[in-house]
Structure formats: structure tokens, C-alpha cells
């Protein structure tokens, strides 16, 4: 029996290990292609060396770190606010039909509006400080997390709820010991989607209205035709986004390892 439990995990790990060298080859190949394109065809883009040199320069001067902290702190503030509000509201909607009836129209409506479209309104009403940026990110995270949480609660297996009831559980116990753990996988998926859209939103918000951050840096570099800085910013955004996603994925795998996976 223990082989049964371990076999899929080890085969998954083995498959992942086999992929890693391929991933490295692909990344190196991509950079080589980029270098070749720049040197042979004069496409007007900076070469990898130039970008690396600029990256080192920006790291030395502390500029990159400052921008990174500015962007990241906006994302984390908006993300934290969004998730902490979305989870209880999602539970409320899933658990009480009345709450669902009252809240769902707003959630469904605002979900259809891209968070970026709210930026002009947010700037006009909240000024040009941190508030409108954090608010827009909050909105992006909140909407994806609230739907995921709600879906999680609604799709809890009714038999599990009945099993808890016949073992003497009341509503509070069922909520704590059945609904919350059973909907955790959904919530974590919602958080991952939310983090992705938060990251996309922060950069766009900074492009439009900010005095710091990776998006702002790109917008400044655009004015001076400083392509190397734009590249450094883009790569930083991608790497950071990927790192945060992997972090949440690791958390998800850890918290939901009880799930039966094929």
C-alpha cells in the first residue's frame, strides 16, 4: 500500500527532474537567440550584455531595489487586504443564501470591469498617493478570491457535511472542521489568480500614475529612449511574478496534499 501512496509522487518528481535540464537549455537558447537577433539583424534592441550591464548599474545604485520595494509593497498591501476581506465574504456568500443574493450582483458586475479601468476614477477620488494604486490591486485580488472562496464553499461534498452531522457536529463545527478545509484548495487557486492579476495591475497602474516602482521606471526610461532599463524592469517583473506564483504553488501543494490527484 505504501508504494501506492509514494509511487505517483516519485514519478512526478522524476518527471520534474527530467524536465529541469530541458528548462535550462530552453532559457540559454532563448538568450542566445536574442543575442543573435540583435547582432545580426540590428533590430534596434539592446543586447543581453548591455541589459546585464545596466542591471548591475541599477543594482549598485540601489535604484532597482527601491523600485522593486515600491512595486512589491503595493502588491502585498493590496493582496493582503483583498484576501483578508474576500475569504470571509466568500464564506458568507456560500453559507447564507441571503448574503449570496445581496452580494453576488455586485461581485459579478465588478468582475466584468478590468481593474485598470477603475484607475482614472481612483485617481480622481483618492488623489495621486499610494491609496488609488493599492485600491486597484485590492479590487483585482478581492474579486478573484471572493469568487473562488464562494465556489469552494458551494462545492463542498454534501455527504461530508452529512457525515459530520451524524457524528454530532453542529453548524459551527461543520464550518470550522469541514467547510474551511474542504474549500482550501479553491481559495488557494483564487489567491494565485489574484496574485497574478495584482502584479499585472500594479505595473500598469505605475505606468499611468506613480512616482516610483518598476512601472514608473519603465515609463521614465521610455522618455529617454533607454531600452536597457526597460528590459531590466521587464525581466524583474517576470522573475518576481514567477517567484511569487511558485511560492503560492508550494504553499498550495503543502496544504492540499491530502487531495487525490491523478
Amino acid at each position: 500500500m505504501s508504494e501506492r501512496a509514494d509511487a505517483p509522487a516519485t514519478s512526478r518528481q522524476r518527471a520534474a527532474r527530467r524536465r529541469t535540464p530541458l528548462n535550462v537549455v530552453a532559457i540559454c537558447g532563448g538568450i542566445a537567440l536574442w543575442a543573435a537577433a540583435v547582432s545580426f539583424y540590428r533590430v534596434g534592441l539592446p543586447s543581453p550584455e548591455q541589459v546585464l550591464a545596466r542591471a548591475i548599474e541599477l543594482i549598485r545604485s540601489g535604484q532597482l531595489f527601491a523600485d522593486l520595494v515600491a512595486s512589491l509593497s503595493r502588491v502585498l498591501a493590496g493582496f493582503a487586504l483583498g484576501v483578508t476581506l474576500a475569504i470571509p465574504i466568500g464564506f458568507l456568500m456560500g453559507w447564507y443564501p441571503t448574503a449570496r443574493g445581496l452580494i453576488e450582483p455586485f461581485v459579478q458586475f465588478f468582475r466584468m470591469i478590468p481593474p485598470l479601468a477603475v484607475i482614472p476614477l481612483a485617481i480622481v477620488t483618492m488623489g495621486i498617493g499610494e491609496t488609488p494604486k493599492v485600491f486597484v490591486i485590492f479590487l483585482a485580488v478581492f474579486l478573484s478570491s471572493v469568487i473562488a472562496t464562494f465556489q469552494g464553499v458551494v462545492s463542498v461534498d454534501k455527504t461530508l457535511i452529512n457525515a459530520a452531522r451524524v457524528l454530532g457536529a453542529g453548524d459551527g463545527t461543520i464550518f470550522r472542521r469541514v467547510i474551511i478545509p474542504a474549500s482550501t484548495p479553491f481559495i488557494l487557486v483564487g489567491m494565485r489568480i489574484g496574485l497574478g492579476s495584482a502584479w499585472a495591475t500594479v505595473v500598469a497602474a505605475e505606468l499611468i500614475a506613480a512616482q516610483s516602482g518598476l512601472g514608473f521606471r519603465m515609463q521614465q526610461a521610455e522618455l529617454y529612449y533607454d531600452l536597457a532599463t526597460i528590459f531590466v524592469s521587464l525581466i524583474t517583473i517576470g522573475v518576481l511574478g514567477l517567484a511569487m506564483d511558485r511560492l503560492l504553488l508550494a504553499l498550495e501543494t503543502r496544504l492540499t496534499q491530502w487531495q487525490e490527484r491523478m
Binding site: M1, N162, L167, W258
Partner: protein, 269 residues
């Protein structure tokens, strides 16, 4: 007359897309303390509905559902329920699943541990006590569910096609194990199944039900001694009772009035 479980003209109507249909029509059955009763019948005969009403998961729309002399008001820990889909909490280990009801009852950690261990041993899952349900086979999952139901010390076990999802060989083993457990820890059992052999092999009495509307067809006593074994399963007496139950299940006169010949019904099918 003090039946442990007493269905008194219990009916259940369901509304479905505006139309209502009668899932259970005035079922009256008494189950004595310590008795093992199986409910068998075609799909739609209301056997699972009857069990859910006894469990307190569904309310009857007519009649009285009485357990221990009192009207049933919702589920209670004196009535353990075992579901076909096992219904183990997948995020808890076998041990934590078995301890679930004890935790709700507010038992101390050491008491929980001891009780859970006793029932885990009883169903033969000691080697998997700290495994998650996902590594267990179907039969092991159901044994874990049985241990979980036993742990809260119910006087009644209500089992809804518990072995329905298992292969035929595992099912026979599970039947023997269940009887073995029941012999050692005697409870009143109501067991729903669509398997005629299973119904006869396990029971003191077989309650045969008919469909559309779900209702009582016939109660057939099984005068075979416990403990039961392969010898009984293969005996002439078993075959006779089995055949009688089979005919009661598969040759039901449907809603046709008394006196209509079976042949006539056969032709219209």
C-alpha cells in the same frame, strides 16, 4: 411493544421541478434491539430515503419516525451512519477520522486516542492509522468509516449501500468482517442494499420494498444461525430464502391491481 426503530406510516414526498412525487408511501416497519435488518429493492423503492429519515437527515412528510420511543428530530450520535461514498474527511488521517466524533463529544485526548485505536484495530487498519484516505483502497476506506461510526458508541448503525462501490470479492470479505464486528460489538443495524445475496446473508430479516411509489412489499425472516460462514452461504436453506427474496424483488406486481397475471405484465415490458 418496544421496538428500537419504528417506522409508523412514514411517507416522504419530494418536489421536483414543480411536480411532486412520492418517494416513500406509508412505510411501517419495526426493528428490534440488536436486530440486523436489511432493506432491499429496485432503485426508486425509497430504501435510501427510509434510511435517511431514520438518520434524521431527511424529515418525513407523513407518519412518525420513532427511535428509542422518541420522535426523531435530526441526526444524533446514538445513530451512526455509513455512506456508500465512504464520506471520510480526506484531509484527516484514518486516526483523525475515527477521532472526529469523539472530538465533537468533547472527550479528552488520551480517551480519544484509546477509543480510536480500539476500533482501528477492530477493523484491521492498525498499519494505516496515520495514513490519509487517498492511499486506502475502497474496502479499507469503508472499514475506516465503520470504525468512525463505531467510535462514538452508537446503539444503532444505519448503512446505506456501504459495499455498493466495491468489487464482488471485496464485498464478500467486507460482509464477513461486518458480521464479525457486529458479533463482537452488537448493535441494531439497518442495512440498505440492492444485492439480494448480501441482504439475505447479513440479516435476521429482509425488508423487501417496491418502487413507484416506494413502499413495503414483504418482510422475509432469515432463520439462519449466526455466526454465518461460507457453509451457510452455500447451503440449501440459504438458497431457498435467497430465491424467495429474489422473487419478491424482481417479480413485483408494480402498481397493477391484485389479480393481474404476471404474464400480462411480462408482455408489456
Amino acid at each position: 411493544m418496544s421496538a428500537k426503530i419504528s417506522f409508523q406510516n412514514v411517507s416522504r414526498q419530494f418536489a421536483h421541478h414543480g411536480a411532486s412525487f412520492l418517494a416513500l408511501d406509508r412505510l411501517s416497519v419495526d426493528v428490534a434491539d440488536g436486530e440486523f435488518v436489511t432493506l432491499v429493492g429496485p432503485s426508486g423503492c425509497g430504501k435510501s430515503t427510509a434510511l435517511a429519515i431514520a438518520a434524521g437527515l431527511i424529515e418525513p412528510t407523513g407518519g412518525e419516525m420513532i427511535v428509542d420511543g422518541r420522535n426523531v428530530r435530526g441526526p444524533g450520535p446514538e445513530r451512526g451512519v455509513i455512506f456508500q461514498q465512504y464520506a471520510l474527511f480526506p484531509w484527516l488521517t484514518v486516526r483523525q477520522n475515527v477521532e472526529f466524533g469523539l472530538r465533537i463529544a468533547g472527550r479528552s485526548a488520551s480517551e480519544r486516542r484509546a477509543t480510536a485505536q480500539r476500533f482501528i484495530d477492530l477493523v484491521g487498519l492498525a498499519d494505516f492509522a496515520d495514513s490519509l484516505p487517498k492511499v486506502l483502497s475502497g474496502g479499507m476506506k469503508q472499514r475506516c468509516a465503520i470504525a468512525r461510526a463505531y467510535a462514538v458508541d452508537p446503539t444503532i448503525l444505519l448503512m446505506d449501500e456501504p459495499f455498493g462501490a466495491l468489487d464482488a470479492l471485496t464485498r464478500v470479505q467486507m460482509q464477513d468482517q461486518l458480521l464479525d464486528t457486529w458479533n463482537r460489538e452488537r448493535r441494531t443495524v439497518m442495512f440498505v442494499t440492492h444485492d439480494v445475496d448480501e441482504a439475505v446473508y447479513l440479516a435476521n430479516r429482509v425488508v423487501v420494498m417496491a418502487a413507484r411509489p416506494g413502499r413495503l412489499a414483504e418482510i422475509i425472516p432469515v432463520d439462519l444461525p449466526y455466526p454465518r460462514s461460507e457453509a451457510i452461504r452455500l447451503s440449501q436453506e440459504f438458497a431457498e430464502i435467497r430465491n424467495r427474496v429474489w422473487r419478491a424483488v424482481y417479480h413485483q406486481p408494480s402498481m397493477a391491481p391484485q389479480g393481474v397475471a404476471q404474464e400480462d405484465l411480462g408482455e408489456t415490458r
